[in-house]
Amino acid sequence: DVKVTQSSRYLVKRTGEKVFLECVQDMDHENMFWYRQDPGLGLRLIYFSYDVKMKEKGDIPEGYSVSREKKERFSLILESASTNQTSMYLCASRPERTFGRTEAFFGQGTRLTVV
């Protein structure tokens, strides 16, 4: 059974802390993505990566950074957490298209609260 695992389901951090959200996939997928989801705003793309050590900014990268040192792991870093980063964070992985379908798989999400 394919799996994308996020390190925490719920997380509470203080303003100003450096926060690491970890995502690991066991499907040898090339592409990985980080999103945040807020009520009424849908899924918004923060960063994505198409390969190891590669990263691209999504639509809302401000206040975040990422790391992809190994193919299976894609980490989202909040450099200095702020209350407006309280949200549900979702990680996804997807294979490169060779032939046939390419479906993305999502982790269970991390609900982060910054106080």
């Binding site: 994308v4 993505f33 999103y35 849908g42 899924l43 793309l45 994505f48 691209e56 999504g58 639509d59 549900m88 979702l90 996804a92 997807r94 298209r97 379908r101 390419t102 479906e103 993305a104 798989f105 999502f106 982790g107 269970q108 999400g109 609900r111």
Partner: protein, 107 residues
């Protein structure tokens, strides 16, 4: 990257067939069309993907006309558990989900 447009919300009743149409006027030649479903507090999950004409699986059907500028997700005989947000995506670039279509199935 092809932009998609789909209705914000739809209501249906149990047992009815639901059709959600997505418009993607600037779809590229090599782009596939993919639909995802999302329940509250969960990540989206893949429903169906197609390139042209019709694709059917155990969950849904996907209809794509010859010009490929739109696609229609068809859910046969919906139940209350089909209440969810449905997203249409086009292409293999970075996945941008937009607002999706919030389907509410009523008893």
């Amino acid at each position: 990257l092809a932009k998609t447009t789909q209705p914000i919300s739809m209501d249906s009743y149990e047992g009815q067939e639901v059709n959600i149409t997505c418009s993607h006027n600037n779809i590229a030649t090599n782009d596939y069309i993919t639909w995802y479903q999302q329940f509250p507090s969960q990540g989206p999950r893949f429903i169906i993907q197609g390139y042209k004409t019709k694709v059917t699986n155990e969950v849904a059907s996907l209809f794509i006309p010859a010009d490929r500028k739109s696609s229609t997700l068809s859910l046969p005989r919906v139940s209350l558990s089909d209440t969810a947000v449905y997203y249409c995506l086009v292409g293999d670039g970075p996945m941008r989900f937009g607002a999706g279509t919030r389907l509410t199935v009523k008893p």
